[in-house]
Structures are given as C-alpha cells and as structure tokens.
C-alpha cells in the first residue's frame, strides 16, 4: 500500500494545517481549565449517579440495605466474636437466652456466633464465585458474540453444552471427589453455572454488534478491542449486574444445598455447615428450631435482598416495568383514565 499511504499522509497534513488556521487559539484557556476534572472527581460523580439512580428505586434501595447489612456483618461481625464459634461446651441444646442469643447446638456451640462468623464465609464465597462466574460469562459472551464465525461457533457450542449439563448432579459428583471446602464448592459452581450468563450476554452482544453506534465507532476508526470493551460492554452493564446478582443468589443457594448434603466442609463455619449439623443432629425432631431456622431466614432475607436489587435493575433498564405511583388526582377520581 505504498502509494495509498503516501497519498493519505499528504492529505492529513494539509487538512490539519487548514484547521489550525481556521481556529486560531481562542482565549478559552479559562473554559478548558474549568472543564478539566481529575479522575477521582469524575469517578466520585459516577458513583454518586449510580447511588442516586439506584436509591431512587425503592426495590433497589431496600435490596441494597439488606445486602449491605450482611456485608457489614460479614466484614465486621467476626471481629466481635472472640472465641471459636465451633467451641464445644456442655451447655448444649440451650434455648435462646441472654447468654446465647440464638441458643446453642446439640454440642453446646453458640449459634449466634456461628451465624455471625458463618456470614463471612457464605457472603465472601458467594460474592467471589458470583464475580468469577460473571467474568467468565462476560469473556465468553462478548468475544463469541462480537467476533462471530468459527470462534463464536465454538464458544456457543461450548456454552450450550455446559448449559444442558445437569448442574446439581454434576456439582455433586465433582464436590464428592475433590477435597472438601468452600473452594471446591465454588469451583464446582463456577464450572456448572457460567454458561447461562454467557448465553444471555452473547445474544445481547450479537444484537449490539449490529447496532449503529458500533458501526459508527468502526467507521470512526476505533480498534476491535476498544469497541468490545468501551462501546459494547458498558451498554451491557445492567445485564451484567443483573446476571451477577442472580448468580450470587444462585451460588448462595447452591452452596447451601451442597453443604447441606455434606459436600462442603462440615468443620468449617458457614450457613451451609450449620444446616448440615442441624439436620444430622435432628434439630427439628428435637425441637431445636433456633438451630435450624436462623440460617434459613438469613439466606432467604439475603436472597430476597439480591432479588429485589435484580428486579430494581430490570426496572431501571426497562422503564416500562417501573411502578408509577398512582397520582392523587386519579385516586380522587377527578380525572378519567
């Protein structure tokens, strides 16, 4: 392309010169400086916008409060528990009391402490796994969706295969044959659950790819990676966020189930381990409801919080879903609908 490139370079020089002439530096240094903004300020504003947008939606607000509460408990709760929550004592099967706010297990362990400390592992692994699953689905979905062709063919075949692999049975098989512990549960869940998000994102990317602003960025001269990660990806944030939230909920439920089945680490401290022991030690038959009920409530409340955020995201993304308040005039029947 020797000829062409010389032809091009000549052109660009002349145009550039021309522009310079047309626009002599105007006395707008002031304005430019006023528009200059350090990154942290911009990031701060971005966060502010996100916060504002999300708290405007009541569902998201309630969901966020719930999830934040659990995150705080996970982060700081264990700092207030000074003894090993799995410490056995002879004060077994005690009903809730001042000494043991949630009573004790059949082995005399303090349930409240277990719950608080267990929150950390459940939340930490839940979110970590959620993040990992999300990242994998983003990579697979975006790359497959954008490039199309053989890459996509392969990736979507893989996705579809993993989509139909039975998750829970596979998880059980995997979890039983690897060392016990949250890492295994997390790995198993990652393997079995990335495909759904990847599929959704691929479909989205596929439709994004043919959107005009992508073509327009292309015709503007942007590179492929920049188009994928700066033009397409940010538009899928709400899907990614929703996917992350629902994956996290799924992860928390799935890992509780696996741990309940004894495929976790029974000696660890987590909500799932609490279920395991409560069930094995006949908590329900023995009437030890305070052992069996709290972790279930915790998961359900946290899960409901996550679902609320999810619905909120849906509503933010699709204004039609927003619940408009019925105006006073309407309620007073002063107007005709």
């Amino acid at each position: 392309m020797n000829t062409s490139s010389s032809q091009f370079s000549q052109g660009s020089n002349s145009t550039a010169k021309q522009i310079k002439q047309d626009n002599p530096l105007t006395p707008e240094r002031e304005m430019v400086r006023a528009l200059r903004r350090p990154w942290y300020e911009r990031a701060g504003r971005g966060a502010q916008v996100v916060w504002h947008e999300s708290t405007k939606n009541k569902k998201v607000a309630i969901g966020l409060i719930i999830v934040l509460f659990f995150i705080l408990v996970a982060a700081f709760g264990p700092l207030f528990v000074h003894t090993d929550p799995n410490l056995l004592s002879m004060d077994a099967q005690a009903a809730p009391s001042a000494a043991h706010p949630l009573g004790t297990t059949a082995l005399g362990q303090d349930i409240f402490k277990q719950l608080v400390v267990g929150t950390r592992s459940s939340i930490f692994w839940g979110f970590l796994t959620g993040i990992a699953v999300t990242i994998i689905s983003i990579l697979v979905g975006l790359v497959g969706g954008y490039f199309g062709g053989a890459v996509d063919e392969f990736l979507s075949l893989l996705t579809n295969v993993f989509l139909v692999l039975p998750a829970l049975p596979l998880a059980i098989v995997l979890a039983s044959y690897f060392p016990r512990g949250p890492q295994t549960v997390a790995a198993v869940i990652i393997v079995t659950s990335w495909s759904w998000g990847a599929r959704v994102l691929r479909a989205q990317t596929l439709s994004m790819r043919s959107r005009e602003f992508v073509s327009s960025a292309k015709s503007n001269g942007e590179t492929i990676w920049r188009i994928i990660f700066f033009e397409i990806f940010p538009n899928e944030i709400s899907i990614v966020a929703a996917n992350f939230v629902s994956t996290t909920l799924y992860v928390i439920l799935a890992s509780a189930s696996l741990e309940f089945l004894g495929l976790g680490d029974p000696n660890g401290i987590s909500w799932g381990a609490m279920f395991y022991w409560a069930q094995k030690d006949n908590a329900l038959i023995s009437g030890l409801w305070w052992w069996f009920v709290p972790p279930g409530i915790c998961i359900a409340v946290l899960g409901a919080g996550l679902s609320l955020i999810n619905f909120g995201i849906d509503e933010i993304a699709d204004p039609r879903l927003r619940q408009e308040k019925i105006p006073k005039l309407v309620r007073e029947k002063k107007v005709i609908a």
């Binding site: 799995n86 410490l87 056995l88 002879m90 077994a92 099967q93 059949a106 082995l107 005399g108 039983s176 044959y177 016990r180 004894g262 680490d265 029974p266 000696n267 022991w277 069930q279 094995k280 030690d281 006949n282 038959i285 023995s286 009437g287």
Partner: protein, 527 residues
C-alpha cells in the same frame, strides 16, 4: 405401611413386625447368605441359621442347629451333633451332610468365607447324618465363634452346583423360622415358617423390612409407630424418641465394639510411646461419650476391654477408666519425650510443632463430632490436631494403605475380648487388607494371642488377656475413645420380650445376626 402392625390387624390378628434396619437405598434381590456385596435383611438368621448362638453381651453359647458340640482333647477336632427333626422349608430333612457341605463350599469359594476360617482348618466331614467333624491344622478354639456362630448352613440339594457368591437364590430354602415371601425394592416380607423346628416359640406372623432412606426418616417412622424395631444412630434419643411415648419407646445400646483413635505407628512422632500416652491423657472421654454418642456408651478403657461385658477379664490395676482429661499429665509426658511448649501454646520438638491430622468419614456425624472434641481436647493440651473430613471411600483407602497420621476407627468386639485384640493387633493382620491398620507389630502381643488361642482353659485364657490389657494400656497401639454400641431402638406397643439391660439375652440391633433370630424367638405380641 402406616400402622401395619399386628395389633391393629383385622380379624385374623396377623402379627406383623416392622423392622427398620435397611437404611440407604432400595432393596435389591440379594437372597444368598453368602453374597459378598450384600445380603438382604432377614436372610441371615430368619431364613438361614447357624449352628450356635454366641451372646456377645455375656459370652454365653446357645445351641441352634447344633444340639451339641465337643472339642477333642488336643483341641484339633471339633465335633458337632446336629439337631434332629429339623426340616428345610421345602420339606427336605436337614442333616449333618448339609453342614459339612456348607463348610466345604466355603473352601471351594473363598470369597464366601468372609470370616476367613479355612486358613486354619484342614477338613470338615459328616461322619453320619447327625455328626460333623471339623479338623484344625493347629488348635484354635476361638474360631468356634466363626464356625458355629457366623456360618449360615445352607441346603446341599440347592447349593450343590451353584456359586454361593453369585447365585440369585430367588427362592431361599432355609431352616429358620421365616420364609421369604415377597420382594420389592421398597419392602421385604417374610412369612412364618410353620415347619420350623421350634415353631411354638415363634409368635410373630410376618416380618416386614421396609427400605428407609435415612436415619431421620426411620426415627420419624418409629415415632409414628410405623416401625417396631429400629437400629440407627441418632443423637439425643431420650428427648426425641423416648420422651414422646415413654411407656412404649425404648432403646438399649449394648456395647459390643469400641471406637478408637488409630495412629500411624510407622510415623514420627507416634512411634514415641510418650506421645501416644500424652494424647490419651489429653482426651476427655466423658465429653466424647456425652457429645458424640449422646451418652449411650461409656468411655472406653485403655485396656481395649469393652466394659462392662469384659469385666470378668479385667486386670484390677486397670479398674478405673480415665474419663477426664489430664492436661498436666499430658504435658509432663510430652516434656519427657523431649517436647517443649512454644509461645503459641503448642508443644514442639526441634522446631517442629506437634501437629497431625485426624481423618474421619464425612457424614458419619458421631465420628465428626468426636474429631471435633478430640481436636479441642488436644488443643487444650498443647497438641495441634486438624480434622480431615473425607469421603468414605477415601477413608477406607487411606486406612487400608496406611496413608494417615491418625484416624477414627472402630475396633470389632466379639463374644470374648480376644477377638478385638486378635483382629487389630495381631501381626498376621498387617497385610493391606488386614485390620491391623496402625501397624502394631509386637512379638509379645503375638505370643499372648497365640497362648489364648491354643487353649480351652479359661484361666490360661484370662491370663493371656490380662497380658494384652497391660500392653494395650501402657503401649497404646491405638487410643481407645469410647465404647461402640449396636444401635437398637424398639417399641413395646405391639410386641414385648425385647432384650434390654436387665435381660441381655442378645444384642438388640436388628442388623446383628443371628441375634435377630434370638430376639424373634423371645417376642410376644401385645393383645
């Protein structure tokens, strides 16, 4: 079915006993008593009988198919006189030839010889219709339990040409009080055998063995009266079971075996006896008993004797069972072994902390709890133990191949204390599939075992046992934790006559064979 017990039966007053001993999946048709993988509940005992019954609670022997037995003076020959008038359930007469056939069949199919008797025998012959002579390679009287008490006599005319480990045995023909009636994956049904040689003693008309998926369900079913006889471990039965119907619901956990902490004697630091003693001293066995076993069983004696059953053998020196932890003693022992306490409270030698892992089977919650208690006890004494909770197959793999620091395991008892020592300490059993998992290889022990097994003299035997007790208690080839019971729950709503502490005529567990046969013979329906 719910409430399908005899007392609620209709006009014909059929007395049905519901037995909950199959916990797990569905039934498969495994009707040969010598199937190596599994045998359906009721086949051994209810259909096929043994020659003798050994009561593991007190060591007493009751004749069954054998009317009598006799040792030769050199203890190399054992002669059984078979019971007369016994018929197979197909009407054919039972004779000594069937007995001889059964033993020779085990020789032919070693896989069926699950107790491993033939390595000690040279021949088994029926000298006439009522007499069977068992000839030993060398004297071994303890083998009588396996020969008389654990060998299921099968009819020659049925098993003549089949491999007992493979045969489907669709229509089991035995001498026992019940005949197999119906198979379904969910339930096994046995009907009373009217031609049983002791038919008058049998008051139960039908046995139902429903398949139950887990212990919790079994317990719920028992509490609803759907099951009369159960064999399962569940914590806190006093509160969750007995208290719901104190007049009828009972349990009795007769100690027949023992739980122990196996330590790998081939590894440092466990090859140091002081360390083993320190670990033993650090344990709070009463806590183990209370928390892991809900107090059903007593703390174990470090002699390896299952008390109180083995009381008659007990060397008075070891009268007291060390139930409480003695951290000071443990510390002293460790110091004598060259350990010193580090800043974090853990003993160390040459910069190496005293720390090891304990393997337990995932899902066996009593063991898991034991491990947790042990970990905590040891931690209090400055020993760092971690719990390695693994899948059962991984556990057996590690156990059989010696890939462990320590593991919780069971010691199998028997009618006398000898069996436990022999199974787990005899150097013969060092082989990979043997039960000497800790690799205890001690000539003194072997000698004492030999001394016991070559005599019929109770005094000599007691002496040998006491020697073994001493070795156990001082050397600690493994560290006994608590006794292990045969789990046994029952309801007197429909049947009475169950074995219990005051009348320990048999081990109560429904899976204990042929104890189940003995229990059935004692049961009477409530009207």
């Amino acid at each position: 079915g719910n409430g399908g017990s005899g007392s609620q039966g209709k006009t014909d007053k059929k007395h049905v006993l519901n037995i909950g001993s199959h916990v797990g999946g569905d039934f498969t048709s495994a009707l040969s008593p010598y199937n190596p993988t599994q045998v359906n509940e009721g086949i051994q005992g209810m259909v096929y009988e043994t020659l003798l019954f050994f009561n593991r609670n007190d060591g007493k022997i009751t004749p069954l198919l054998a009317a009598d037995y006799k040792w030769s003076s050199d203890e190399k020959q054992l002669t059984f006189t078979t019971r007369q008038g016994v018929k197979w359930s197909d009407g054919q007469p039972f004779t000594a030839h069937d007995v001889a056939f059964t033993f020779n069949m085990l020789k032919q199919y070693p896989a069926a010889d699950s107790k491993g008797i033939w390595p000690y025998l040279s021949s088994v012959n029926a000298t006439d219709d009522n007499t069977v002579v068992v000839t030993f390679q060398k004297p071994n009287p303890p083998l009588l339990w396996y020969i008389g008490g654990q060998t299921w006599i099968v009819p020659e005319h049925i098993f003549k040409n089949v491999d007992p480990t493979k045969t489907q045995n669709q229509n089991p023909i035995g001498t026992g009080p019940f005949t197999f009636n119906k198979f379904s994956p969910q339930v096994l049904v046995y009907k009373r055998n009217p031609g049983y040689w002791d038919a008058n003693d049998i008051k139960v008309d039908e046995l139902d063995y429903p398949a139950v998926k887990d212990n919790a369900t079994l317990q719920l079913k028992m509490m609803q009266g759907q099951i009369d006889w159960g064999s399962f471990f569940a914590p806190n039965l006093d509160q969750t079971f007995v208290a719901k119907d104190p007049t009828h619901n009972h349990y009795w956990m007769s100690p027949t075996d023992m739980f122990t902490l196996y330590i790998n004697l081939t590894k440092a630091p466990f090859n140091q006896v002081e360390v083993r003693q320190a670990i033993s001293a650090a344990l709070d066995r009463s806590q183990l008993s209370q928390q892991a076993e809900s107090g059903y069983v007593a703390p174990a004696s470090t002699t390896g004797l299952i008390l109180p059953n083995g009381n008659s053998y007990l060397d008075p020196t070891y009268q007291t069972v060390q139930a409480k932890a003695d951290a000071a003693k443990a510390a002293q022992l460790l110091q004598s072994a060259g350990y010193s306490k580090g800043s974090d409270g853990i003993f160390a030698k040459n910069g190496k902390e005293l720390s090891f892992s304990i393997k337990v089977v995932n899902g066996w919650t009593d063991w898991e709890t034991m491990a947790a208690v042990i970990k905590q006890n040891l931690h209090n004494a400055g020993i760092n133990a971690t719990v390695d909770d693994i899948q059962d197959t991984a556990y057996f793999d590690a156990r059989n191949n010696g890939n462990f620091d320590a593991l919780i395991g069971g010691l199998f008892g028997g009618p006398t204390p000898f069996y436990l020592y022999d199974t787990h300490l005899n150097s013969v059993n060092l082989s990979p599939k043997g039960y000497n998992w800790g690799k205890w290889n001690d000539s003194q022990t072997d000698k004492l075992l030999q001394a016991y097994s070559s005599t019929l003299d109770p005094d000599k035997q007691k002496l040998a046992i006491q020697g073994l007790e001493k070795i156990y208690a001082t050397q600690l080839p493994n560290i006994p934790l608590v006794n292990a019971a045969s789990w046994y729950e029952y309801s007197t709503k429909n049947f009475t006559g169950w074995p219990d502490k005051s009348n320990p005529y048999a081990v109560g567990a429904a899976y204990a064979v042929p104890d189940d046969l003995i229990v059935i013979r004692h049961l009477t329906p409530v009207n």
